[in-house]
Subunit: 203 residues, 2 copies
DNA sequence: CCGCTTGCTGACTCGTCGGTCATCAAGTAT
DNA sequence: ATACTTGATGACCGACGAGTCAGCAAGCGG
């Protein structure tokens, strides 16, 4: 009797599937504590196959981080640049709702991985810096500038460090990474911060 | 010929010395990547001795975190409670200068360790939460309350989440953990935040 | 000086896990 | 059908590092 085939060949999909499984595994146990075997099992694949597509564990790690990051940042930045809302509306609308989502999103996991493994993967940190941080901060800076040009913000807003928008979001991310279940009204934190910034810099 | 003794017995000092060495090692390489042998060599001691004082690697880890934490937090909180400065003076003086120091201090290292290893050491997280976070936030809350009672702050300040004071500090810590060498004027960040808070809540 | 306690050593064990490779079998071309 | 390519498997290897333990010697009490 012929029976089911033991496996199908799916050259195209495997790398992505393995990367997804790896992300899930890293998210749960961290990089060091994750075995390639775990990743393979999660992906429904043998350990050997993982090594066909990713030469080393480190390779896989880098692929995973780039993967997760690239997918998200572009979308958001595109939003900022093309939106037709007034500055205040944009801040209270799309920006705030984005910030609220981040602490529970895969981005938070990537930050955990960067904090713990970053020092041993400098090129990965560089990649992240260029593709996320610089571009993200740049977008905020341009946004402020546009606001000033339109007369919605005072000139002093130009001296503001864009980081100040993101500080409560960062705290919220770390809080959830460490104290996952302990309550903290992170939404309120971010709203208060944006309120303060607007109060201070609105024309 | 008698020669030097090969070692001295120093039962009292060993545990602390080993914990210090372990902290240095964890700070440099993280928990998982640090070998007990490294710790021992740093402490000028044999691997076996480490196991005399700490049953397992995890034990050592917990001892290290508690050790570093306990030493610092009390001092600061004591400061807040006993200071005779006005609220604004205190914020712009001792509080600001404390916050400036943190990102380069061992506390930052502890945060890295908690972010990466926390999920696997829930009791350690609980310990940290009770002894650092709750007490720290409590101190800030009492400080605000005192300011309101003295008429230095408006009543609305009571609704403020204390976390908002610390958000830029948190961002600075993470920034330095990940991007150690990349420039960021973290002092300015924290100052701006305190300026905003004062502008908003000063009576 | 001697003998006993115990702080301390370091060679060893043993499980684990990253990485390899001989082999198999799914799919394809002829 | 048959031969061939290559995606996929899983047993295996080697190193590495946590934890053990038999024994050594510092230093104290008599």
């Amino acid at each position: 009797m012929p029976g089911e085939p033991k496996y199908q060949r799916r050259k195209e999909d495997r790398p992505q599937e393995i990367a997804d499984a790896a992300f899930a595994a890293f998210a749960e146990n961290g990089y060091a504590a994750t075995r390639i075997d775990d990743v393979a099992r999660r992906a429904g694949v043998s350990k050997g196959l993982t090594y066909l597509y990713y030469k080393t564990k480190e390779d896989l790690f880098k692929a995973v981080v780039k993967n997760v990051v690239v997918r998200r940042v572009d979308a958001l930045i595109g939003d900022v640049e093309t939106s037709t809302l007034s500055s205040e509306e944009f801040i209270r609308g799309p920006l705030l709702s984005f910030m609220k989502k981040v602490p529970g999103s895969p981005i938070a996991i990537v930050i955990r991985l960067l904090v713990s493994e970053g020092p041993r993967h400098p090129d990965l940190v560089a990649y992240y810096y260029e593709n996320v941080v610089e571009r993200g901060l740049g977008a905020i800076r341009r946004f402020i500038q546009r606001g000033v040009e339109r007369g919605e913000f005072r000139r002093e807003a130009l001296d503001l460090q864009p980081h100040l928008f993101l500080a409560p979001m960062m705290l919220s991310i770390i809080w959830r990474l460490i104290f996952s279940d302990r309550p903290l009204d992170t939404d309120d934190l971010m709203e208060s911060q944006l309120d303060m910034l607007l109060a201070q810099f609105k024309a």
